[in-house]
């Protein structure tokens, strides 16, 4: 069932459903035709900020624009003046790369105005409820109340696995990396099939196994656009439950899977779960892909080259923290390397 938006009120009600969360103080670009992405960014309030926003958007929109491309600019803010200036600035710049802006819509949550026509109206709860009901029928997940609540959904009870980590490390040290890799791949395959949440014991074992780069890479290699939903599910769960010392890997995997799925907002939220004292170059790669608006299909197209080049450049561009291993695929020796502390 399609929503088939027919009014500004309906469009405003539908935006959280396509974005995954309810935007606040934001500017959102919604295309009318396939080809361009939906993009959200914080509303710029100064001339310098407006230019900075365009600098960030110009790459993706120049690359993805096709003849006849057109979109709606939606500003959600109480600051109507900034919305009008920002949407006009953006529309002008988009015009320069061949993208027409057919709608410049502002809303403060209660009222809306279409800047191009001057048409105004009210946002009604009944419309929001009708749109929400329609999305339920499509099977789509309901949006988070805000971007903050989307981020909060990635934080769970981390104590149960924290208590099991010492035993998991002891067991891993008594095993062989290749055996742990095979177990991790098998457990991932089982998750793909049944979708059942890992037990605390299996979760601890998986997180310890991920510390061995060849194992993490084997699981990373398993990712494709076809199974990204399943990967998002398992890594969301382990990011929620993973203590600081082992969370960088699952959070980076979740960031990558989310990007592969096309969900930039969720990917950023995942990367924010990488502990700040544990730099992770996989996370850095995902961050760059997100900010540069790299399309997920590039993963399939350039998978090998990307990893190879990233591996070549990583040692030069990303400072290596003392005592911490790098984690770029392809930089490791052929033999398995045990996790630190083993």
């Amino acid at each position: 069932m399609d929503l088939v938006v027919q009014s500004p009120d309906e469009l405003l009600a539908a935006v959280p459903h396509v974005l995954g969360f309810k935007p606040e103080e934001s500017i959102v670009l919604v295309p009318f035709r396939p080809g361009l992405p939906i993009t959200r960014v914080d509303l710029p309030r100064t001339a310098a900020d407006r230019e900075e926003v365009w600098d960030a958007l110009s790459g993706p929109y120049s690359r993805h624009a096709r003849p006849g491309a057109r979109l709606a600019i939606i500003c959600v803010t109480e600051d109507r003046r900034s919305a009008e200036l920002a949407s006009q600035h953006l529309a002008d710049r988009l015009q320069g790369v061949g993208v027409d802006t057919h709608i410049r819509l502002w809303s403060d949550g209660e009222r809306w105005r279409e800047f191009n026509t001057g048409q105004t109206g009210l946002q009604t709860p009944s419309t929001a409820e009708r749109i929400a009901a329609a999305t339920v029928l499509t099977g789509a997940a309901q949006p988070a109340a805000s971007r903050e609540s989307l981020a909060a959904s990635m934080v769970g009870d981390r104590e149960p696995i924290a208590q099991l980590l010492p035993a998991a490390r002891t067991a891993a040290a008594a095993s062989k990396p290749a055996a742990e890799r095979d177990w991790a791949l098998g457990r991932l395959e089982q998750f793909h099939v049944d979708g059942n949440r890992l037990s605390d014991v299996d979760g601890a074992r998986m997180l310890v196994a991920l510390e061995t780069i060849s194992t993490r890479d084997a699981l990373w290699e398993d990712m494709s656009r076809k199974n990204s939903t399943s990967h998002m599910a398992i890594w969301t769960d382990l990011t929620r439950r993973g203590p600081d010392e082992v969370r960088a890997a699952p959070a980076s995997m979740l960031g990558f899977a989310s990007w592969l799925h096309g969900d930039g907002a969720k990917a950023w939220c995942a990367l924010d779960q990488v502990p700040v004292d544990r730099p992770c170059s996989m996370a850095a790669i995902v961050a760059s892909a997100l900010q540069n608006g790299i399309h997920p299909r590039e993963w399939e197209r350039y998978q090998t080259q990307m990893r190879d080049i990233a591996a070549d450049l990583d040692e030069s561009f990303v400072p290596k923290p003392p005592g911490q291993q790098r984690d770029i695929p392809g930089t490791q020796p052929v033999t398995d390397r045990p996790a630190p502390g083993r």
């Binding site: 399609d2 929503l3 088939v4 938006v5 539908a14 459903h17 396509v18 974005l19 295309p31 009318f32 035709r33 396939p34 992405p37 939906i38 993009t39 959200r40 960014v41 914080d42 900075e52 960030a56 958007l57 993706p60 999305t135 789509a140 971007r147 960031g255 096309g262 969900d263 930039g264 907002a265 950023w268 990367l271 924010d272 990488v274 730099p279 992770c280 996370a283 850095a284 790669i285 995902v286 961050a287 892909a289 997100l290 900010q291 540069n292 608006g293 790299i294 399309h295 997920p296 350039y302 090998t304 080259q305 990307m306 190879d308 080049i309 990233a310 450049l313 561009f317 990303v318 392809g330």
Partner: protein
């Protein structure tokens, strides 16, 4: 991939573009400057088949 292959020092256009992927940690991106990009959104859900 055979890492022992002798590869040219020059990078292709694609490779040069991919160089941009190696950047600072995520924390270096100010949260208020980040782009939330949804690729290949379900526009039929929004507009029906009448875009």
């Amino acid at each position: 991939m055979n890492h022992d292959d002798a590869t040219p020092a020059q990078h292709s256009a694609t490779e040069r573009q991919l160089r941009r992927l190696v950047v600072p940690e995520p924390a270096a991106y100010a949260p208020d400057k980040r782009l939330d990009v949804i690729h290949e959104p379900d526009l039929d859900l929004l507009w029906g088949g009448q875009q």
